[in-house]
Symmetry: C2
Subunit: 561 residues, 2 copies
């Protein structure tokens, strides 16, 4: 299998594409396949160093490798020489995500085979998260890479350039597949469904930065991502005495003050996997990373509603504000939901019509050009690709408001569930999870201490005030250190009471309990209303697998190796 | 002991005081003691009917019994004849609280021995809650008693009248005991401490009425109850640009609109007993009834602050509003605490300077003449006998704000607790408890069903949306019926989002599991933010025994008798 993949790639690119003095084992093995009858299986992957020597002999004197690397380096210095490098498709790059298949990455249009570098990477195995995709989002996250000598190291591994082929394919496919125009996603995301796209990052990425980069922010789409032309985009505000107010993107940006908040968004189904382990539920099998913390900027919904005619008269009868997305199903029904009027117009509600995420225009997967950000409230009400706002006496009658995203007793089943009996989820309960170490990780006893990291957040603007961590499954507890900002930087100023929209990251380094063979690491958070997480999953289990916020538990093994 | 008590009473009152055709066994036994050498123990309490016949013979012809009863009845019809009835002290009445000691009650200044009536009471044993004290608060609660024939039944049991003696004693004691002027409390309250007074009602009373009568509302005093003359009462409002605003009670009632809310108040230590069972904590050993739900009326704090000069300028620097009571310790330090400014001045905060509780002036134990009601917030911030309000940039530095009423990790002990590390408790977390049946109750299997009742409430205006009840210790759950009003009456209108200050009562009638010998009944509530109660006590245990909101559990025995 390994050889088939590899040789297919070689067939299309030609052996020349692999000719450089640092060479990936997959390529080496292919080269060997061409030159001899011994398979990679016979050689064994652990003999990588030997292969390098073998291949160095085989390829001696071609000079092609250095030419390709140098060429790229010079191109960055405004060199106009035409590329002599091979061209790879995106598909080909994504096939190289393991040491066995070779580890390929892209950066500014070039393709690099960094298989050999993995063991030398100062950040350890984390480099594999980038395997098969672009380095840019990781380097944006880990700014230490933004140095000249890092580029120099990288340039040594260049194997070719990226083709334009995928974009052409996409344009053809658009005519048949409603999801064909969906944006590219980073291959590191764990995909729950491709169409619509639902994916979450590896948990350990979450605790690496207080602000989650958009690329790694979980993506939860109900429908195809609409293609919106920002120039012709119009937002309709309806239900107010002045009639319909129509706003362009430019109007939103220029006619209303720009307001910025840092807010975590969490899917109601985050940590559903824990519920599935108890008894199967309906919904995407999210792990613990259907949550992210971003900086959002835009016009205040309050300001827009006031401009559209909201006032005391309207407050007499209005109770809800509906949001409708530009994403539509096959029947033409748009995604929709609503929030209580008090949240929408309250001075301290901080609801935004956001046009920026992390200081850039909102990426397509997150609602370009405008999404509602309802801080403290379940992701499902933070409607993306916002097309319409309606002030109303009634709650939205959308499927997602009335027959989804509600909590039920563990006793309710699909034959006996009355969706009218439960309120639509708005504010979410207190939540926390362990991002490091991963479940099943192996800890070296000689380390003597163990560092545990994670996130904690509560809905409704309730600040996380404490996270307790246990190494013995909940028998004894230690208090973790909380962080409201990037590591080593000044924390964000404390929020006013009831407006703590952002999450907190936490960390604790504790002595490894002597003799322990296995640890059950557990965390639980407390918010400013002193709400706590429940101990176990079964009593909060519900048929939709929502609101999964029991203590998070991971088991690790301690070895003496 | 029985005879000693009884004969002491007889010595003071004379035999004539017991002469009526319905006679209490204790009195009978005393009469017998005087007339014969046989003790009550020899006669046995079960022979009460025989005693009546015996005593009827002994007392035949005196006519005194009927005269006393009739006299009282006529006195109610404006009869001016001087009483011929014996006079009892309050102390004597409180000694009669059991069938063994006789069951005495008072009503409108008269004393009744209702021992014999207990078995005939349509409401069953609940009548014993009134033993040794006044009937009025119970009759106010159970309005079925407000009928002429009930008074007629009662009149038959009259044994005398209440003395003025206790009031005199109290006036003498006042000069030495700072608590001597504390008000009388109903004897049904379970007393945690007498000085200061801290008491809670029997749990089953809580679920009998949606509005908790003031008499039965838990009393949580930190210091002696101050004696406040409403005519000279003054409230100082300080820290605002206009200088000190001084308001009389009349000012509060006439210069500001009267606002009414129904709100539950809960002590931070409610259900501390459950924590004491895990490991001893510091604090009053409250059961599950340090909570009550009342109707509060008064001026809005917001309105008073606006009148005192609060405005946008103040909002620039002010962050907290302090409250100081008129209750003072021996050093002259008043009880004090503070709440966030946003809660105090927010239009939806509903903070009251209340001068009425349940449509009457606030009883002394609850803060006469004015207390702050901060709905959704821990009892400790609802300062009673309010004397001073201060708008400030800082939190109150009161002991009760800084070094008490804070939550900690289970790992914190008194040697290693840093009170600065935790925020002062404000909003309380989701809570519920079972009021009926009581722990240890015996259920008759032939009943076939079991009715479970209780209360549920959450802080911060978060509405209770569901209560789950389990009869098997949490393995399976059923959904209870919620009630927001008195039984059989229309419920209160639903509160606006985030302003659900009142509790909900709940009830469920479920089939008794066949074969079960013992049931572990468990309840847990869910609020509108889908916060839930934790499963068990140990992981939320803390050295002060606060915030005890794990699932409530009671065990009952099922018998085949």
């Amino acid at each position: 299998m390994l050889l088939l993949k590899c040789c297919h790639s070689l067939t299309r690119c030609g052996l020349v594409s692999t000719q450089r003095h640092k060479v990936a084992p997959a390529v080496v093995s292919c080269a060997l396949r061409l030159c001899s009858s011994s398979s990679t299986e016979d050689l064994g992957l652990s003999q990588r160093t030997n292969w390098k020597h073998i291949l160095a002999g085989l390829l001696a004197g071609t000079g092609a490798v250095l030419a390709c690397g140098l060429h790229h380096h010079k191109a960055e210095q405004a060199d106009v020489r035409v590329s002599t490098c091979p061209v790879f498709s995106h598909d080909e790059v994504t096939k190289h995500r393991t040491l066995e298949d070779g580890v390929w990455v892209t950066y500014k249009g070039s393709v690099y085979d960094i298989t050999e570098f993995v063991a030398m990477h100062p950040g350890g195995n984390k480099i594999l998260l980038a395997a098969g995709g672009a380095l840019e989002p990781f380097w944006a996250l880990y700014a230490v890479h933004n140095q000249e000598h890092v580029l120099e190291i990288l340039s040594q591994y260049k194997v070719g350039e990226l083709s334009e082929e995928d974009q052409k394919k996409q344009r053809v496919a658009e005519q048949t597949d409603p999801f064909a125009s969906d944006p590219e996603r980073h291959p590191v995301l764990h995909v729950n469904t491709h169409k619509p796209f639902n994916g979450e990052p590896p948990p350990e990425i979450l605790s690496d930065s207080y602000i989650t980069p958009s690329t790694f922010f979980f993506k939860r789409n109900h429908l195809p991502v609409p293609q919106v032309d920002p120039a012709s985009y119009r937002l309709q505000v309806e239900g107010l005495p002045g009639g319909v107010l129509t706003l362009s993107l430019e109007d939103l940006k220029t006619k209303f003050p720009k307001h910025t908040i840092t807010a975590a968004l969490q899917c109601a189904g985050n940590r559903r996997r824990d519920m599935n382990k108890v008894k199967v539920v309906q919904g995407l099998n999210w792990g613990i990373a259907a949550i992210g913390n971003a900086k959002w900027s835009g016009a205040r919904l309050r300001d827009v509603l006031l401009a559209a005619g909201f006032g005391p008269d309207v407050a007499q009868w209005a109770r809800h504000v509906h949001f409708e997305g530009l994403d539509k199903d096959v029947t033409g029904t748009a995604y929709g939901s609503s929030i209580p009027l008090s949240k929408a117009v309250g001075e301290e509600g901080d609801v935004l019509l956001a046009y920026e995420m992390n200081d850039e225009e909102i990426p397509r997967d997150h609602g370009f050009p405008v999404r509602v950000v309802v801080p403290g409230v379940v992701g499902a009400r933070n409607v993306k690709w916002l097309g319409r706002i309606v002030v109303s006496a009634e709650e939205s009658d959308s499927h997602w408001q009335q027959r989804d995203y509600k909590g039920f007793s563990p006793g309710a089943d699909w034959d006996h569930v009355d969706f009218k009996s439960s309120p639509a989820i708005q504010e979410l309960p207190i939540q926390s999870a362990i991002t490091v170490p991963a479940d099943g990780a192996v800890i070296d006893r000689s380390d003597e201490t163990l560092t545990v990291m994670g996130y904690a957040w509560s809905g409704g603007g309730r600040e996380v005030v404490r996270v307790d961590v246990s190494l013995d499954g909940g028998k004894t507890w230690q208090v973790a250190e909380l962080r409201s900002g990037e590591k080593g930087q000044a924390p964000e100023p404390p929020p006013p009471p009831g407006r703590a929209w952002a999450w907190k990251l936490w960390e604790i380094t504790a002595p490894l309990p002597p003799e322990a063979q296995e640890l059950e690491i557990t965390c639980k958070a407390v918010d400013s209303s002193y709400n706590v997480q429940p101990d176990t999953v079964p009593p909060i289990w519900n048929l939709r697998g929502l609101l999964s916020n029991a203590w998070h538990r991971v088991k690790v093994r301690v070895t003496d190796d």
